[in-house]
Assembly symmetry: C2
Homo-oligomer: 284 residues x 2
């Protein structure tokens, strides 16, 4: 782990680290916010944040205002990049010219299809390598095993599906503007076809709406969605999550916000409530 | 005025507007945050924010978290671009390849020297055209004449010098990491030579430390400065402002913050206190 940025922030420290990911076969960057409590030597739980299409580790840490809330509640916040990267083109990481496939669009799953399968293993990265790395590197500052998960758009899909696929690994999960049913919308259909092939069962295993029906753990979901979101009707379709949760008896708090769009202005407006909600769950 | 962006934010609305500036001879963009109180029809005072070198109207509105504080205190926030612009190169706005001269580096003064004098008139823009435009276009939402001024780095220089040069126009002024004595540091010496020529009197008229000695109005200054700021010793030198204020009996609250750098992580950490301070003054 090499630290490539550090900035004092709300009494704590916003850092950016880079490491050689064995899961992804490339260097990966992650934002790490250490609240004042962690700097004072008090082990803190970790909120993992998964960003959306085109994002790197920078978007959330520069635009969301998360540091104020994390400082207040004593949470470490870890925000990784959204896919393997290969800016110099020397590592064999495949890519696509479109913004919604390849680098910047990992969809938080392990690809099974060529040419993606070797490097595009974001599920293993987020669930296995990243927490192990964080809990080992920041030993003494991190409360091992106390983890929450949240994200936006593609990262909201990542948060919901990874929490549902790995019961017990996260104390709480929330999402902003998530792709709740990737099997039924263009972003998801394109990515799943490329990464997973044509098998409907493989798709269902990474689709929050499909996973809800057979979830072993009824972890409550907190979801915020803007009603002026430009992707609401075509890509996000929160009513599908609402129906799936109602059918399965899965606890869901879905809040629709009039006037709000898909941007970080929306995330920033309600992020404080998400952080407070995760902090409450992590204390339990 | 044409609206080019709008986003719901903390119950209010973050907008970006573009207009043809007669002062600068080019289109100019500005961020405008309208708090919930303004949207509800209650006239609100305006905090003007001046950004630093290389910034546009975007940096402050996307990175500072100002909207939460402005919503809480019922302030409109106006953040203009930092200089005339001519991206297509068709308007005759001069430029320089360096980041600290020309477009993105207007230094909040009216240039007197060729080739800058025609377009580089940011003092007139910020003090005259911009408030007139805002108070006319947002009539009913803006409390006319109730203005506060703040800024960062080059914009901190702008805030201090424009408030000192125009007594009575601003109810309060504050700055983050300001260039307090441009006549004595490389950024200022380079810009002043280009924009104002070699006349020491012209330089002194746009130098906060020089202006403090003869200020007609003893408007209290609130200044925050990070002690890990990479430009502290070479470009910012807050001790010169401290000495000038002490000598003149000018009220100054200068807060030095251990560990903080020159970035928006620093601004965001203390911006809430600045907004509260301006709100208090604007109520008077």
């Amino acid at each position: 782990m090499e630290r490539v940025e550090q900035h004092a922030s709300f009494g704590g420290r916003q850092e950016v680290w880079q490491h050689a990911s064995t899961t992804l076969g490339c260097p990966m960057k992650l934002g790490v916010y250490l609240p004042p409590a962690a700097l004072a030597g008090q082990p803190c739980p970790v909120l993992y944040w998964l960003s959306g299409l085109t994002c790197t580790e920078q978007n959330f840490i520069t635009k969301s205002g998360v540091q104020a809330h994390a400082a207040q509640h004593g949470l470490i916040v870890v925000a990784p990049d959204t896919s393997p990267r290969d800016p110099a083109g020397t590592l064999g990481v495949p890519n696509d010219a479109a913004y919604d496939l390849g680098q910047g669009a990992g969809f938080y799953l392990n690809a099974t299809q060529a040419p993606w399968a070797t490097h595009f293993r974001m599920e293993d990265y987020v669930v296995q390598e990243l927490p192990a790395l964080v809990e080992s590197h920041f030993a003494g500052q991190v409360q091992p095993g106390r983890r929450a998960l949240s994200g936006h758009s593609m990262g909201g899909h990542g948060a919901l599906t990874l929490a549902l696929r790995h019961p017990g690994r996260f104390a709480s999960v929330s999402a902003f503007s998530p792709i709740v049913a990737p099997s039924q919308v263009p972003w998801g259909q394109k990515a799943f076809t490329a990464y997973l092939g044509d098998d409907p069962a493989a798709w269902a295993a990474h689709d929050a709406v499909a996973l809800i029906a057979k979830a072993q753990e009824r972890l409550p979901l907190l979801v915020d969605q803007g009603e002026a979101d430009e992707f609401l009707a075509t890509q996000l379709r929160p009513e599908l999550l609402e129906a799936a949760c109602a059918a399965a008896g899965h606890p869901l708090t879905l809040r629709r916000h009039a006037g709000y769009d898909h941007s970080y202005y929306f995330i920033a407006s309600f992020l404080g409530e998400h952080v407070a909600w995760h902090a409450q769950a992590l204390k339990g």
